[in-house]
Symmetry: C2
């Protein structure tokens, strides 16, 4: 579940780099909570093929994060904005994260 949340965060960051099909698949499973079997039924494929496709999307998301580290940096910046005593800088950091 923790791991799922991590992928959902990565999806929010990197979804523009996925294909339309991959975005639909990921959303169906992780955001709209459809089971692999339900998606397979809808798409007319097998549960195994949906499983493989979801696995491929997750691999892509992990690769993007390994290369670009946006999630990691956002988390470090968030922690920094909570730690600094300079309120204006803290606000500015949060604004940059949200862009």
């Amino acid at each position: 579940m923790e791991k799922d949340l991590e992928y959902i965060e990565l999806f929010e960051i990197y979804k523009d780099l996925l294909t339309e099909k991959q975005r639909e698949l990921f959303s169906s499973h992780y955001l709209y909570d459809l089971s692999l079997s339900e998606i397979a039924e809808e798409e007319g494929g097998s549960r195994q093929s949906v499983y493989d496709a979801v696995k491929k999307v997750k691999k892509k998301l992990s690769e993007y994060e390994n290369s670009l580290k946006i999630r990691e940096k956002n988390n470090l910046l968030k922690a920094l904005s909570e730690k600094t005593k300079d309120g204006e800088t803290a606000r500015a950091i949060r604004e940059i994260i949200e862009r």
Copy 2:
């Protein structure tokens, strides 16, 4: 020239998302300063085909930046680290950018 520097910065950030071939092409032209004709001669293609391929790489880099805004955020963070009077936070911001 200004524009070239911008693409070189984008290349440094997003190069892992390009193919090996695209990385070679971009490096030859922008980092090793080979002309399009020189690259065409080396590769055995036409100058026009090299021009088109370089243009495609630049378009890719711009698309990545439009989606992910890493360069824009890095520049904002750099400016913020120079502006803040909190030296420790400034250092921490620069360390995060460099990751």
